[in-house]
């Protein structure tokens, strides 16, 4: 292990840069993931999530900065890193002409496991895969959920210290998704495996991650525990969808003297307030008196989506939902 390694962190990234020609896909990312932690890496499509994860798992060389994973430098000691990480990439990377058992056995062999160890690990992982006799069928016959679970099992076959999951539940139905969540939690809690998880689903990050990093346009826009991030956003939020001049509406809200700040995103106004229940009637009155038509007025506590909106200027939830619908439409048409 490197002499200068701080053993507290399973992943230590400093000043990470990756360019593709003139495009700066990752632009100075710093992040630290403690050993035994689940770290959720959030960002919309094209934000740089996959580029970061490909650099962390030795598939892509960084243009600048340093990456230390499981105590080893990714650039100078990639072989040591590979022995200690498990990876499930965005699309289940499987050979459809092998059976599930054959794929796992090959994976085990490449990690130096003996035949006995490989057979034992496959038996151990069979509950995770939960595909019964399909284990001896060609992977090409598996459903999307079965493939994702097999992919996860392949990433775990050698008992890695750090597990990288790139959007592990994208395209899964809710039941399969919750099973993957359950297993991710169990792997982390019982084995102490550090998990670096990229996702487009805020509820996934909220449910699983001890800490969250939000990447936007190649930069880490915020990081902390979900609670810290939400707290930083404000105690309560009043969301007003208006039809009319938003500047007038903002003036009216600020004029109440009980609103800490207002953000405008299209026709949607988000007002941060101390005690929402006590303030909402004053807000409704102010908007009515301003002459701006209110289509919707909602009071709620902040979510990660609000944090995301604040730090990136766009909502992640809508994009993830759109993608999910378009995938489901595509599957339905197919």
């Amino acid at each position: 292990m490197s002499a200068d390694t701080d053993n507290t962190y399973a992943i230590d990234v400093q000043g990470l840069v990756r360019t593709f020609g003139p495009v700066r896909a990752v632009d100075g990312v710093d992040l630290k993931v403690r050993r035994g932690e689940i770290f959720g890496f959030l960002g919309p499509n094209g934000a740089g999530k996959t580029t970061v994860i490909r650099m962390l798992v030795t598939l892509l060389a960084p243009t600048g900065g340093s990456i230390n994973v499981a105590g080893y430098d990714v650039v100078s000691q990639p072989g040591e890193v590979r022995l200690r990480i498990g990876v499930a990439l965005q699309d289940a990377a499987l050979d459809v002409k092998q059976t599930g058992r054959e794929l796992l056995r090959l994976q085990a062999q490449l990690y130096g496991l003996s035949r006995r160890q490989a057979a034992q690990r496959i038996a151990d992982l069979s509950d995770l895969i939960d595909i019964g006799e399909a284990m001896d069928r060609l992977i090409g016959t598996y459903s999307g959920g079965m493939k994702r679970r097999l992919d996860l099992a392949a990433a775990l076959i050698h008992s890695p210290e750090v597990l990288f999951l790139d959007e592990p539940t994208t395209g899964l139905d809710p039941v399969s998704r919750s099973r993957v969540w359950e297993e991710v939690r169990a792997i982390n809690e019982r084995l102490g495996v550090t998990i670096f998880l990229t996702t487009q689903y805020l509820e996934e990050a909220d449910a699983l991650a001890h800490r969250v990093g939000i990447i936007s346009r190649g930069r880490l826009a915020a990081q902390g525990t979900p609670e810290e991030l939400k707290r930083a956003r404000g105690s309560d939020l009043i969301i007003a969808k208006v039809d009319g001049d938003t500047e007038v509406a903002v003036e009216a809200l600020m004029g109440t003297g009980r609103v800490n700040g207002v953000e405008v995103h299209g026709s949607e106004l988000t007002a941060s307030v101390g005690n929402g229940a006590a303030v909402i009637s004053a807000v409704a009155l102010a908007l009515a008196q301003s002459g701006v038509a209110v289509q919707e007025l909602t009071l709620r506590t902040p979510t990660l989506d609000d944090v995301f909106l604040q730090v990136t200027g766009e909502r992640l939830q809508d994009e993830a939902a759109d993608q999910q619908w378009s995938q489901e439409d595509g599957e339905a048409q197919a």
């Binding site: 022995l83 990377a93 050979d95 062999q109 151990d124 069979s126």
Partner: protein
């Protein structure tokens, strides 16, 4: 859901070793051969077709050349049709496109084993593919002056050529990750196999083609294979054949290794 995965024996990952890596990759490739009959069926049918077509069309004419047994002359050609271009290069492309190649590269597997394992499986396959062609030759009365050992050398030399030629599709597959580009290997197949002593001995050819065949390594390979059938053991001819194949191998395997390095190295 039960999570036995989290309660079971933990294992320690380590490098498996070069030879075990090669055998693991080869084992997968051999397994997939049985599941891809579309690769092996043409390699059996095409040589049989051309063997009988060439004999039917040219035997009477060619055998006017004193001492020429045209069936024996055509058997090595059938062998080359059987083994040239047989590879798992399209599998490599599919692995690249599906992301499975990345999964393999993330493991501690030796990078060279990713290619050599496939080529080892190819070699075993092409040597096996020479068997039905040889049986066909025996059925029509072709015999080996070099005896049983000559038959073994004949099969190995055919297999070596198949292996060496496979370097080209592997190089293209690894470089481009594109199946259409891999299929362009046929642009090499035609000059190698047709601009040589495929149909007639060199002395029966017109001047320009006779000159070209002088520079085609396959001419020397065919001469070596034919010598095992009709002449017995001719060390100089055999060494020229092996040397010509190795010369092509320097180019094809060199390109394949460069392409592998480019693909497996993080850009």
């Amino acid at each position: 859901m039960a999570t036995r995965v989290t309660t079971a024996e933990q294992v320690q990952a380590r490098r498996a070793g070069f030879l075990r890596d090669i055998m693991s990759v080869a084992e997968r490739a051999v397994r997939s051969v049985a599941r891809d009959p579309e690769i092996t069926i043409p390699a059996v049918v095409v040589p049989v077709f051309f063997f009988f077509l060439n004999i039917g069309a040219l035997a009477d004419f060619a055998e006017q050349i004193p001492g020429l047994d045209y069936k024996a002359f055509q058997l090595p050609v059938a062998i080359l049709f059987a083994v040239t271009g047989v590879s798992r290069a399209t599998t490599v492309v599919l692995d690249i496109q599906s992301g499975y190649f990345d999964r393999l590269v993330i493991t501690p597997v030796n990078r060279l084993a990713l290619l050599l394992g496939l080529m080892l499986a190819d070699f075993a396959l092409v040597v096996l593919l020479t068997v039905p062609v040889l049986l066909m030759g025996f059925l029509v009365g072709v015999g080996f002056e070099s005896g049983p050992a000559g038959i073994v050398v004949f099969m190995l030399l055919g297999g070596l050529w198949g292996l060496i030629f496979a370097g080209f599709p592997y190089a293209i597959a690894l470089k481009t990750g594109n199946i259409s580009a891999v299929n362009l290997t046929f642009l090499l197949f035609f000059p190698f196999l047709f601009m040589t002593t495929l149909f007639l001995p060199q002395e029966a050819m017109t001047s320009w083609l006779a000159t070209v065949t002088d520079y085609n390594p396959v001419t020397y390979l065919l001469a070596a294979l034919r010598s095992l059938i009709t002449e017995g053991w001719e060390p100089v001819v055999l060494l020229q054949g092996i040397g010509a194949v190795m010369l092509v191998g320097v180019v094809s395997l060199g390109l394949a290794l460069l392409a592998l390095k480019g693909r497996a190295t993080r850009h």
